[in-house]
Subunit: 450 residues, 2 copies
């Protein structure tokens, strides 16, 4: 692979320019800005490296840029997204978010880290491979969606409608970053999520609070309902829910011990004296990665301004998210929640479903995971940190669960201060170049497992 790496170094300036060009094209899904133009630009980039590529329209959604290249016994999917978060607040950017300015070896642009840097690095790696080693040793499929930053709202539908195009032996997820100590990170799954609003109503308008003697208060209704969902020791008490939660398999517990979990730094950063229940070390990490949660993300009722207003509110609303572990499907949790409330006389409380995403996980011994680890050891010269899954959620299950394709995720061109979703999003040019090399190495390693 020396020739391959040398080619990348020789062409580094052009590869950076390709990324700058894509970053200079806004593609803000939430604001419907530049989506079609960006899809076309990515399509032609795919075509320039020799891929058979096209836009696959999604009803009422952004098109998916789909492409294939290479032949071989194995097929690998690269999942990326070409849309970006809104750049606001603009005044906090040191350079225009779509100028893609480079200062002291760092490229600043909305989307540089999330996720255009990884997307372009993969295309450049394919070019470099072909130029230095000829035909690809496997079949690559590119699936670049345009709605990741608005919750991948049509990805499930796209996957269902195009299962035939998505057959593969492994998938590499969008990318990611090194950790705070510069170690490569790989993760194999994500928790599921159910996000709901609970709404209660009382009188038809706000009343003077002296009427609290006789008139129901929707804020109290929600307080009582919530208090029945989780107890003061943070134990979930939704009827039947914990029956679906299992201890992690032993081989994954072993993985946990190898994760450098910097709990002191985390507690200091968050400003908390200890974790919930006083858990520490592997126990804390286990709870973080394998425990379901029920979180009040927002609560609003009545008068919330300065000073006192004696009002009996007519409405109350709480936003709740449940982070879900393997056997907790969003539908199941929604059903358990409704029945739990009904059983306790809270039939008046409306549940509005906002988001549901399923748990996703790939086995640590899947060939794509092993290939990702081997490539990381080779390129980064360090043992990667492997998370069996993260505590967050995402659309990975459309591939790992619905299609049954093992997915490896986490390693990409970002660093721990890439400021994803924030002003001055950036990647280091050196990381980008290294990331291109990583993809080439990964292709070789995965093909070898055929």
């Amino acid at each position: 692979m020396e020739e391959f790496k040398a080619y990348i170094d020789e062409n580094a300036e052009r590869f950076v320019a390709e990324l700058q060009r894509l970053c200079q094209q806004p593609s803000i899904a939430a604001q419907k800005v530049g989506i079609e133009e960006t899809a076309e630009m990515v399509l032609s980039m795919l075509q320039r490296i020799g891929a058979r590529a096209r836009l696959i329209p999604v009803a009422e959604g952004s098109p998916v840029v789909y492409g294939t290249i290479g032949e071989g016994p194995r097929t690998l999917i690269f999942y990326n997204h070409y849309d970006v978060q809104p750049p606001e607040p603009l005044e906090e950017w040191k350079s225009d978010p779509f100028a893609a300015e480079i200062r002291q070896g760092v490229l600043y642009a909305r989307g540089a880290a999330d996720n255009k840097g990884d997307l372009v690095a993969r295309l450049m790696a394919v070019e470099a491979y072909q130029k230095t080693r000829g035909e690809l040793p496997l079949k690559l499929k590119f699936v670049f969606e345009g709605e990741e930053e608005i919750g991948s709202i049509h990805l499930g539908q796209f996957v269902e409608e195009n299962r035939g195009l998505l057959e593969a032996d492994g998938c590499i997820w969008e990318g990611g970053s090194k950790d705070l100590s510069g170690r490569p990170v790989i993760y194999l799954g994500l928790k599921g999520i159910l996000y709901v609003e609970l709404r209660a109503k009382g009188a038809k308008r706000d009343l003077h609070s002296s009427w609290a003697t006789l008139v129901p208060n929707p804020a109290w209704r929600l307080v009582w309902a919530l208090a029945s969902l989780k107890d003061e020791n943070d134990r979930l008490t939704v009827d039947g829910l914990m029956n679906h939660v299992e201890e992690p398999p032993p081989e994954e517990t072993d993985l946990l011990r190898q994760i450098p979990f910097e709990e002191k730094k985390i507690k200091a950063d968050f400003g908390i004296p200890h974790f919930l229940g006083g858990v520490k070390g592997v126990e804390a990490l286990k709870r973080h990665l394998y425990g379901p949660t029920c979180t009040i993300c927002g609560f609003r009722s009545g008068y919330i301004g300065e000073g006192s207003k004696t009002v009996l509110p007519s409405e109350a609303m709480v936003k709740l998210d449940f982070r879900l572990v393997p056997d907790l499907e969003p539908r199941l949790v929604l059903d358990l929640l409704r029945k739990h409330l009904d059983r306790r006389g809270f039939k008046d409380i409306e549940i509005v479903e906002m988001t549901g995403e399923q748990f996703a996980k790939s086995p640590p011994d899947a060939p794509i995971v092993q290939a990702a680890l081997e490539a990381a050891r080779t390129i980064y010269g360090q043992e990667p940190v492997v998370y069996p899954n993260l505590a967050g959620s995402g659309p990975m299950y459309h591939f790992s669960k619905a299609l049954g394709i093992p997915v490896a995720s986490g390693m990409g061109v970002s660093h721990a201060q890439s400021r994803i979703h924030a002003p001055n999003e950036n990647i280091k040019i050196a990381d980008y170049i290294q990331g291109i090399k990583y993809i080439g190495e990964l292709i070789v390693r995965f093909a070898e497992k055929g």
Copy 2:
């Protein structure tokens, strides 16, 4: 009293003009608009009817306009306030809130009903009495404060500093209105109130909600703490609180039976199928007037906008009011609340005291109450509706409790649609004239009890 009444009718136009003049002078305590000017204007009105009057400054507050007139074995205080609520929203007024326009026998102005109409009616009644019957048969003391609409924040201090000026045998409160059916209403007390904020903190900034596995959530802390204060049947469960609550005395229960409590109308107006606990009739009224409450007036935590945001909030705040019955002093309730929370491990929850007002009640057989009832029967030709106390709160206890002066309240120049605190506040000219006559009759009746 026929000559007295005839004088009022003859001078009605001038008496209305006097009220209009005062209404045209803004006196918005919350906005510090026109307070001094209004105090001076009221002072000179008092002087014009022959009272010895002066402004009594209150440190950092609006001055109290104080005056005395007449001599006799009995002394009566008229409590009123010369400040008004802010007039906003201005666009909803049909005429300027300080134009004091009269349309079809109705005077529209901010403060016409609350409380300038009653204030001027009392002065006009004294003038008419003196012009037609000579010297007053008792000693009158006028106490007109300028901060009622901002919570009478210095009234307690004023009363403490001027106890010598406030000796009296009875007090007539600011005024009030006829009920929906046009019946005169008199009430003898008010509940106390304790208004607090409970505040909880978690991490030092909002976090991604995936951290809910390990990081405390202040919204949950408040939910659990609140759920311990009141149960799902609306029973107050603050440790020891209900030990201080007693059944109303039998003679007051009799009063309740005579109150026309239009529960069907009330439920329809509020849009609720039934009252809490299904109570009805006298039971409902008893709960309304004699039951303590604990009301969530506001609750705020985390993300409360549209859609879903997966955030673990760093702060949560709830506004709570307790309406208090005789033996529940605000200080006592605050102390019970703190101990209750501490005992349950909620030492982290901060209690911020916002307002505390004490319960106030005067005995139904007090001479001033009897005089008020007799005068109402004579002037309005109907049996008055007597409430032993209202479910609301106010600064009456500074007189009835701190000074031990029986207070009668409720009857004044307003009607049930006077739109107090709202745009197009108004009184009927006929009610104003009748109200002047009522005050004269009341003076006579109270003097007779000497």
